[in-house]
């Protein structure tokens, strides 16, 4: 039966071909392994199937990135990785079109990143490409996740001299690595882990709840920690990225499901105070900031169109990316202080 399932899945557009780069020191700038064909689809039904080839830095972009090319970089998580959209429909794709395709725009989205990873990514991108402007897309959970110690990720850790960016190196037991390598190419495995997002802890809800309780910090401490993470991020970003604040745009995503139907509003993972603090502080420091929530709300009120794959997937669709791209373009290239 397992063999039959494997054979059937091999005939279907199961998500395969995207393997994270093995060099953890290059990650997240080097996202997946370079120049590999891939197929991506979502959910058990294999919706939105797309095929492509990773570029030289392992991003889902149909062209290679050139070192030292002074591009505009677009940094984010799976929203910018944008597996579910054609490249031309993404924020970076549209921004490139708006700039007349004369100046490079490099998408640097990697699934699972948070604000702390963006800081590391900015540093890596600076060393490699010397970008002249940057767009950062922050979505719900980006601030709070940047405080969580996750294997393979950067996070803000409180030490005696304040909050510091720290890498938790990825380490895997050699036996587990061998097992992963041997089953990793099975379509059944890829279908379960990529399309169904199956993980072993799903089998133990009680354990999961206990773990969640253990992670939750007292509210007061959480506010202070999220504020500190925001402050650290904003203070370090110009130095790491080599870009002056006026050429850095932040786009803050909103709760779009809540706009469509208040009954399905998503609980905020980031404290609303921390989000407000981010907007206020970034504006004070001269960054360009846009809260997309009012923009989405107004647009929905008039046109009543979704900005994502509601209700199955909150990632932006072409419309969401287009509105974000227009906003980013306004912030960076139509500003009174001059063109970036």
């Amino acid at each position: 039966m397992l063999v039959t399932l494997e054979l059937v899945l091999r005939m279907l557009p199961v998500s395969v071909g995207l393997y994270q780069t093995e060099r953890s020191d290059l990650w997240p700038l080097n996202s997946f392994q370079a120049h590999l064909p891939y197929t991506v689809s979502t959910t058990w039904e294999l919706r939105n199937a797309r095929h492509g080839r990773t570029n030289n830095y392992g991003h889902l972009t149909p062209f290679d990135y050139l070192p030292g090319s002074r591009p505009v970089i677009v940094v984010g998580n799976s929203y910018i990785e944008s597996q579910m959209n054609d490249y031309r429909d993404t924020l970076q794709g549209r921004l490139g079109i708006m700039l007349g395709q004369t100046e490079p725009v490099y998408g640097m989205g990697v699934s699972g990143l948070s604000m702390s990873d963006y800081l590391a990514m900015a540093g890596q991108a600076s060393a490699e490409f010397a970008p002249r402007a940057a767009v950062f897309v922050l979505v719900n959970g980006d601030i709070s996740d940047s405080l969580i110690d996750r294997p393979g990720h950067y996070y803000f850790r409180e030490t005696t001299d304040g909050w510091n960016l720290t890498l938790h190196p990825r380490s895997m037991h050699p036996l587990l690595t061998r097992v992963r390598q041997s089953v990793g190419d099975l379509y059944l495995f890829r279908y379960a882990t990529q399309n169904l997002r199956f993980t072993m802890p799903e089998l133990a809800p009680v354990f999961r709840e206990a773990k969640a309780r253990g992670l939750a910090a007292p509210v007061g401490k959480e506010v202070a920690a999220q504020f500190a993470a925001v402050d650290r991020f904003l203070a370090e970003l110009p130095g790491r990225s080599g870009i002056e604040p006026r050429c850095i745009a932040f786009l803050l995503d909103g709760d779009r499901f809540g706009i469509y139907d208040p009954r399905v509003a998503l609980p905020p993972a980031d404290l609303p105070e921390a989000r407000e603090h981010f907007i206020r502080k970034a504006s004070e420091l001269g960054y360009r900031v846009a809260d997309l929530q009012p923009l989405f709300r107004e647009h929905y009120k008039i046109r009543r169109r979704h900005f994502d794959y509601y209700p199955i997937d909150a990632h932006w669709n072409g419309l969401g990316h287009r509105l974000a791209a227009e906003r980013a373009y306004d912030l960076l290239f139509r500003q009174p202080g001059g063109h970036c």
Binding site: M1, T43, W44, E45, L196
Partner: protein, 517 residues
Amino acid sequence: MLFNSYEFIYVFLPVTALLFFAFSASGRPMLAAGWLGLASLFFYGYWSPRYILLLLASIAANYLMGRGILRLRDERRLRGCRLLVMAAVTFNLGLLAYYKYANFFVDSLNALAGTGLQLERILLPIGISFFTFTQIAYLVDAYQGKARESNPVHYLLFVSYFPHLIAGPILHHSEMMPQFADRRTYRFDVTNFSIGVIFFFIGLFKKVVLADGVQLFVGPVFDADPSYRLTFLEAWLGALAYTLQLYFDFSGYSDMAIGLSKMFNIDLPLNFNSPYKAHNIVEFWRRWHMTLSRFLRDYLYIPLGGNRHGLLRRYANLMATMLLGGLWHGAGWNFVIWGGLHGMYLVCNHAWQGFRVKVLGHDLERHTARGRVAGAALTFLAVVLAWVFFRAPSFPAAVNILQGMAGIHGAVLPEQWQAVLATGAAATVGGMSFGYLEAFGGTRQIVWVAALLAIAWGLPNSQQIIGWLKTRVVARAGAYAAQSRSWCMLGALSVLISFLAMINGSRGVSEFIYFNF
């Protein structure tokens, strides 16, 4: 605990079955039955421990009242017996009225009389309608001398038995107790077990793939903003999507319940028999939620007089039965309207049949192919229209959908079709316009609805599939080969069930629709 959850499939079911058959093998059937009862209580309490007490109190009270009824009957004290059965039924209906209908009554009173009565929102204990009806049937049967139970463990198991506890089938005392008492029940039988697993797999497939697959297209229509005027295409596709979701969800649940029970060598009554293939509404009710239909017929329609007091009284009894049947489903006027519509359908159906026999001289046993197709189409249409009230969150929402289905809000086509249609056929379709349809799920929705309709109308149902497997695969083989095949089938189905469980898990919690009732 949900039948489609990891904790049920990987923990509860294996542990329960293992210990049940271990106790059975050790020659202690009462212990095995007790264990099954205990596991059933845990199954119920996993959802909300505080309602275990309510369930236990209901079981204990009904068991004692049943004993009292039987004793009074044996002693020929019929008046006392009658009073006790009336008190017992009142007790059960009172419990149901409090937990299920108190808020509804108060809200209705406030709306009608303009009063401002306040009542704390009462959380509906899951399965209360099912375990209450099961016990009312037992009490009435005890009064009529059809039921006799002295074993408290078997009674506890009869009511709380986990495969049927939450959403039926509604059991009849006479079909369960002999099975609990039968020693053959307490013996592992690989053929029964594998038949049970096949039933369970079919049910899980119906729920996870079919019902949950099409449900994405239901919410945008039924929960649409009231100010949004649903167009013809949106309204019809939404109504059909719900019609199919409900059938595959509930029949899937029933299949899983029947399958689970079969694993323990206990046969539950069938609950569905391809209802959308029915050629008239009377036949529909013989095929849809069959155990509820049986209950309503035996404990409501017939006691009201059935068809024994003339035509008008018969129609009045049908209406009353269906109105109450509607109210049983939920405390809301939309359910009453749904029941009323079905009552009306049944009255029309009986009147039409009477007209055909008496005036036209038709033989109802003989049908033309055209007549059968027309009958099936009309029945399906009537059922779909009634489901709109069943699912709609309010009366205005139902009216909005029905107006859309009638084309009152226009027949706008999706804008994405414009490029294809505008140059060709659409040029001849006068007055057809294109626009953005908020509640339309795209071509995918049409494919889903068409595929599910084809399955509901064209494929055999679960019991037909299993009947075929039994005769072709198991019965034709020798004893050893049949056992080997059963074990092979179990292995293969375990993989497929795990696969479906993972698909289900990828979507988060997905409850069964009938848990609300």
